[in-house]
Symmetry: C2
Subunit: 371 residues, 2 copies
């Protein structure tokens, strides 16, 4: 039961705008967006082709349609959409022949359990675009064929559609006893996660390829790790290992059952850029125009990480998952212990720890696909 419940589709970021909400603890994702902005401007300028007849609109309909997949509740999604619209407008303004500026229609997607009420209440009242919310998993179809001109997905694709079955199977060599993710685990565990990620990326790309117009563009900001770096060598891996040890502590203290820890696994996978590129090429529906590491400030060498920011961020992202599996009662004590054990951890100050990196992946939906 608990294992099934780990399907990440049922676990949104912490909603509302309280002290532990995602809305107030998602600065890391904001930094990624800010770093990606300049790159996106250049890529849109280079690859957007408003003259392409495949972009053409219904008579009287001149809407440029954008979607943000895995938008959560804001404010980052609004920032991303703002950046996209600005870049598209700049492209239109730069055209040699005057082209009518389109109306913008923006689709905000996230799981059906995402707090759309908060998202909608926070929508900026700029009048710059028409907004719609689209509930559902982005690993499936969400929009009619050839609806979108631009798709965006930032720091969301590392959420798997489900926990790999094998890591929860006591009889499998991939059984992940006593750990909450694949960091530091047996190769079989990592492989099971990697296989699931591959399937999920393929589903994601197939759905988006149908939803985008031929020639439509997609920008992903993907959390990952540099090639040949292991999860346990990274700051995120170390952070999750410390968190995992806190669960074990709680089990030893009798607050939670050991079996509950054994059956708890996080639905995350951090690919390397080569791995991601290979998956996109095998899928075959998109041209890869760019894959590049983002130089976001917290990933810069020599920057000290603030332990409180780290823990609050972790709680905003994982709080709902933890609550569902272990109950509401453990949350405060778990993250307080996490904080205590993480203070002074060399990961926070030692640049030799490879911090998890974000990658910009810029894709163009192929006009003709042989599959």
């Amino acid at each position: 039961m608990a294992q099934e419940a780990l399907d990440s589709s049922t676990y949104p970021m912490v909603g509302g705008d309280g002290p532990h909400s995602y809305a107030r603890n998602s600065n890391y994702q904001k930094e990624s967006l800010d770093s990606a902005k300049q790159m996106m401007n250049e890529l849109i300028d280079q690859h957007l082709d408003p003259g392409n007849h495949l972009y053409s609109f219904n008579p009287g309909n001149n809407s440029f349609r954008v979607a943000d997949f895995g938008c959560s509740v804001g404010p980052n999604t609004f920032r991303a959409v703002h950046n996209i619209i600005e870049a598209v407008e700049n492209k239109y303004k730069s055209l040699p022949v005057e082209t009518e500026m389109p109306e913008f229609h923006v689709f905000f997607n996230d799981h059906v359990n995402n707090d759309f009420n908060t998202l909608f209440r926070n929508l900026p009242a700029t009048g710059r675009y028409f907004a719609a919310g689209v509930p559902g998993s982005f690993y499936g179809r969400l929009l009619p064929s050839s609806t979108l001109h631009f798709a965006h997905c930032s720091t969301a694709l590392h959420w798997l559609s489900k926990i790999p079955v094998d890591v929860m199977d006591k009889n499998s060599p991939a059984w992940n006893k006593g750990r909450i993710c694949y960091s530091g685990a047996a190769k079989e565990v990592k492989d099971a996660y990697s296989t699931q990620f591959g399937k999920d990326v393929d589903s994601f790309l197939r759905a988006r390829a149908q939803e985008l117009v031929p020639g439509g563009l997609m920008m992903l900001v993907a959390d990952g790790l540099p090639d040949d770096v292991h999860m346990c060598e990274s700051s995120i891996g170390e952070n999750l290992n410390v968190l995992g040890s806190c669960f074990l502590d709680l089990a030893k203290m009798g607050m939670i059952a050991q079996e509950m820890v054994d059956s708890f696994n996080l639905p995350f996978y951090y690919p390397s850029p080569s791995e991601l590129k290979t998956l996109i090429e095998v899928n075959g529906l998109f041209e890869v125009k760019k894959i590049e590491k983002l130089d976001s400030s917290s990933a810069k060498k020599g920057v000290q990480l603030d332990v409180d920011v780290c823990i609050l961020h972790m709680r905003a992202v994982l709080g709902e998952l933890v609550k569902k599996h272990f109950g509401e009662g453990v949350i405060d004590i778990l993250f307080e212990r996490h904080r205590e054990k993480y203070i002074g951890n060399p990961v926070l100050s030692d640049e030799r720890y490879i911090k998890d990196a974000s990658y910009v992946v810029f894709l163009k939906r192929k006009i003709k696909v042989t599959s």
Copy 2:
């Protein structure tokens, strides 16, 4: 302050699915939909023209786009959408030349404070259409130009965009002291409501005319009263008068201030079919294809109204409005008193009371508009 707060945009139906929720107390609206179904089938068959080049889609995009304005949280909106899609599919199937069945893209609209989370969780998993939520007042623009092929709005247009200013002005002859609506009030009060309704209908039609493709269709199910019937002669008018007297009772008992009752007005207006037709003709953007009274079961002569159903429905619709103005504390006692005073009221059993009626209004967006 309290007067400003009466802007109906901030007052959704009671959310969730508890015993006082709109989701569980909206049978009256369901009856309207069921009665409208047959008429809608015939009207769509008669007026939908899939061969019209103005309906044409982007290359590869074959989506027929529907919106339900004022959808609340379900289940009625899902029923309405089901009926629309069924009628459109029937039309496509009946064409002499085989035409590819479109994909359906459905936009569910209501105020930003509507409980979209409940709406989304209740979405039927039929896979028959792609769903999106659109937050905002339907008296303004919500979608890009020429987005929609079919617009629907059921039992929602009687909600005004705001309380007419004059009815809250002590120095105006339209000041509505001691009443909560225009039923039984001075002519000036009714006129102020009627004027506001006229402005609102015009705004609604202007926005929808832009959002619909030329030749696009719109079906309204409008609550109203037969020509030449006064509000105070109808069951809804009597019901609201009884409710109004309960507020006065609470004021006399010292539970609420008399001034609070004087400043409380409901944002409803029940037009006659002639009045509505004239407003649409003056607006000039739509051809009126049909206006006809709906023969819904509770409006049928000789049917006894159940007092508990009436009160629960009233509470689901007005609960949030009342709470905001008077505070949470009065709700239970108010509606209990309402129930006590309404039991045995001749309106519940005497067919001479004209019960409020629903009208189907079927419109076609003019292809060429001179304005």
